[in-house]
Amino acid sequence: MKEATSQILEQIKIVIFIYMIICVVQMFSLGTAPMELLKASLVSFTMVVLAITAKNFVKHPNLPGFAWATLISFVLTLPVSPLSDFIVGTVGKFNFSLVGLPLLAFAGISVGEQLGVLKKLSWKIVLISFLVMASTYWGSALISQVVMSLNGTI
């Protein structure tokens, strides 16, 4: 219990800094007003605190943190939710791609660790992994496309 609490606090601290990165980048890139970004951060951050807490305390179902965050903001912004307009109006000021940008920067940095291992990996596995990535993506896209054309969505 105590350990979980200190873990949650550590994660919350880091998330605060991540919001700072996101805000600075969006101010630089799109010139969004700092006040709007502050409001967006506060509302979004409140939901993240809920998600981090859920992730650390709820073990059944054992969902990844990302899923908890999606689930919580999804439910709170359903049309029946009284908070929906408020949340979308504030957090919606964030640009979707810019929120994901630090993630890709970290993803790039984390590759450094694996570069040494890459040399040991057979080229066959690398090729196969590309096929795995493409075929899972195309497999799903193909099914969606067929179903949606059959029922006339697209």
Partner: protein, 282 residues
């Protein structure tokens, strides 16, 4: 204990500063468009962020500029996956608020969204037979039964052990995916759009079991088809959510048994073919 950890360099601070600078540089460069043999090539901002991050590695730019190694080295690199997982929270919120208000749209597409979950088994039609043909043996099963993210490592590790052939296969796809995944999907999404897939279908396909790959695929898709942004985000969010709830069961009860069955049926004929093509027994 507290004092000790505060003195040890955890890499958090440097890694965060590096990420901020990387994002700013990537935004400053912006998208780059040029033509190669008459084909329009567009390098998105997000791709710069990944590439600059990779270049900072002590194995690459760090070798040329030794000072860089003082800022980005082992602690930072080891810390980055954790920091990445923390960005997933604000990002998850973004996905959620795109899907919640659009529940009607999502509901209408419900059938397609649910059925596409089975599309992840597409790996068995293409990747598995080819892996067997390339002589990977039992590793083929481990490498191709799913996208091989953390849950898959758990499953093969549990069932066969990570030192087994199957385990080595899963680890191989896992590592390769960690290195190339985000870059790969950044290019694959616009390419798939070009070869005729509908943006909605690709959005639904984006939730494939890795949040960072999903982010790369979705952001690249939004970038390539900005007019559909709202729906792309809504479909992608729901598909990602569905996969994170059902994924592990699909892998355990459906994908792995199916991969094993396919292997049992296919490995003799394919290995026979391989022996014929290469003129020797694999």
């Amino acid at each position: 204990m507290e004092e000790k950890t505060s003195k040890v360099r955890t890499g958090t601070v440097n890694c965060m500063i590096a990420a901020l600078i990387i994002c700013l540089i990537a935004e400053a460069i912006g998208p780059l468009e040029f033509q190669v043999m008459g084909i329009d090539v567009r390098i998105m901002t997000m791709i710069w962020a990944i590439i600059i991050g990779i270049l900072l590695s002590p194995h690459l730019l760090g070798k040329v500029i030794p000072a860089l190694q003082k800022v980005i080295s082992k602690p930072e690199i080891e810390r980055s996956p954790f920091l990445l997982s923390m960005v997933l929270y604000p990002l998850g919120i973004m996905f959620g608020i795109s899907a919640g208000p659009q529940i009607g749209v999502v509901f209408e597409a419900g059938l397609a969204l649910v059925l596409q979950e089975f599309g992840n088994m597409g790996t068995m039609l293409i990747a598995l037979p080819l892996a067997i043909f390339m002589g990977l043996g039992r590793s083929s099963v481990g490498a191709t039964f799913s996208l091989c993210r953390d849950t898959a490592l758990g499953i093969t590790g549990d069932k066969y052990g990570l030192n087994s052939d199957e385990g080595i296969g899963t680890l191989g796809t896992y590592i390769s995916g960690s290195i190339f995944g985000t870059l790969f999907y950044s290019f694959l999404a616009p390419i798939s759009l070009m070869i005729g897939f509908h943006p909605y279908a690709l959005a639904m396909a984006s939730g494939m079991g890795s949040a960072s790959m999903m982010q790369a695929a979705t952001a690249a898709l939004v970038n390539a088809a900005p007019a559909y942004e709202e729906q792309i985000l809504a479909y992608s969010a729901t598909s990602g959510l569905l996969t994170s709830i059902t994924g592990v069961y699909m892998e355990l009860f459906l994908a792995l048994p199916l991969a094993n069955l396919m292997y049992k049926k296919l490995h003799r004929p394919i290995e026979g073919l391989r022996a014929k093509v290469f003129g020797k027994k694999a």
